[in-house]
Amino acid sequence: MDLSDSVLDHLRQAAAQPDLTGTRYELESEIGRGGMGVVYAARDCQLERRVALKIFDATLAGEAQLMAQLEHPAIVPVYEAGTLPDGRAFYAMKLISGARLDRYLARQPRLPSQQPNTRVAGDPGLAERLRIFRRAGEAVAYAHSRGVIHRDLKPQNVMVGEFGEVYVMDWGVGAVAGTPAFRAPDALLDRRSDIYSLGALLRFLLPEPGPAALRAVCAKAMNADPAGRYPDVPALLADVERFEQALPVEAWSEPLWHAARRFASRNALLLWLLAAYTAAKFLLFFLRKF
């Protein structure tokens, strides 16, 4: 049968729609798609609530089991998993209202490069960006402790909810190639590959050029040689925390002037008191003399 372009496009779309016959869900709309499957907004007719429904090849059904085992505040909870009448697998999960990290940042102006700590109206600010990074990193660290690696960490797979909550999505179990800019150049993807991707995620979050110490953290996490990276995610997060507390980071041998400046900013009150005391002493010295 000869099909026109419009009929062909319609058939491709109609036949791709998940067949939810016999399930408790009603399809609403597509909200995203990736290498692992397509995510739809749907209505759970039994519990009268909206859910996110992920549809994927039955051969990757292990992903749902894996997701269901991960219980962490930054990992979206799975409500139910099953198989559709058309043979594809699905799982229903909490529908997050918020924005993907790339879109969340795109709608905010970037931090001015010369003043990385200056907050622009509406800008998440460096501290907030680092909070998002730490939350995502904690989810990955937790998953690693359960023997699960993500394989495709990137801004599109991190969601920022309307209350500021952070979720890491799209946990992979299949042979996912990853996204070039965020994928480690490793032949086999393992925990160290996730550390590489976290480094790329941190670099994405930083303003250009970003603080030198954090750039060094990114460079260490993204070392082409897996052995040169942080040994685990907690070690990476600890270095970021050290930066936030104005302590020297493990990834960078800072020059003396930088150490002095960091010391000054960390002990500003003490230095001001010392300066005031010295000035007072000088003043007293001159008053006595004349």
Binding site: D2, A14, A16, D19, T21, D57, A58, T59, P85
Partner: protein, 231 residues
């Protein structure tokens, strides 16, 4: 569960009858398997030759015929190596080589002459490259054959009404009737229209997958090709 079957549907709902290319080749490519390849690729090959080499209708038909004849003679299909890419790309590249050689041979025969390009007189304006046109034609052919399979299947199992509703809605060339209009026309509840369409689409998806299975090397290529198809 058989992994192959899981891609298209449950074994008890949509029985798999097709061997993958690798399995079919190992069993000595049958004429039925060859027919399926030719049915799916004849038009994409013809279209590609017309656009890429600017051949007129008759020359493009001859070249297409020549390509499949040569492919059969030279055991071209069994020498496909799935490690090097998809079967679809393998066919397209082979056609390109074959048609280029034929074109060069024809040009040499014209003493001192330049290659003669035929005008694209009766062709619709090409959308994108010949390679894109090849893929689009391949999709069109794949779905067209699957619709034929669905019609035959509906007749064989007494589900002509389901097919009629599918035809009226999903194959409508212009404006689609509403579910309510279809329900009134066939004196059915609206929920039956929803269910009939869901059945037809599920079966169509299964037939597309079956057609793909017979022209791909195995589960991985089948899955990759299926992903490219579904919008």
């Amino acid at each position: 569960m058989d992994e192959d079957t899981a891609i298209g549907g449950f074994a008890d709902r949509f029985p798999s009858t097709q061997l993958s290319l690798v399995e079919a080749t190992a069993a000595g490519l049958s004429s039925e398997a060859m027919d399926r390849i030719v049915a799916l690729y004849w038009k994409p090959v013809y279209r590609f030759i017309r656009l890429k080499f600017r051949k007129n209708n008759e020359d493009a038909k001859d070249l297409t015929q020549g390509f499949f004849a040569a492919a059969l003679q030279r055991d071209f299909f069994p020498s496909f190596d799935p490690a090097k890419g998809s079967f679809r790309n393998y066919v397209r590249m082979a056609v390109e080589r074959f048609a280029a050689n034929q074109h060069a041979a024809a040009t040499r025969q014209k003493r001192g002459g330049e290659a003669e390009f035929e005008p694209l007189e009766d062709q619709a304006a090409p959308v994108g490259s010949p390679e894109q046109a090849f893929e689009r034609e391949w999709q069109r052919q794949l779905f067209g054959l699957a619709v034929d399979d669905l019609r035959e299947h509906s007749e064989a199992c007494g589900k002509q009404l389901q097919f009629q509703i599918f035809q009226a809605y999903d194959l409508a060339a212009g404006e689609r009737p509403s579910y309510a209009e279809l329900a009134a026309q066939h004196d059915l509840p609206e929920s039956s229209i929803t269910n009939y369409l869901a059945w037809a689409r599920r079966m169509l998806r299964g037939f597309v997958t079956e057609r793909l299975r017979g022209t791909t090397a195995g589960p991985n290529e089948l899955r990759d090709e299926a992903r490219r198809l579904w919008i």
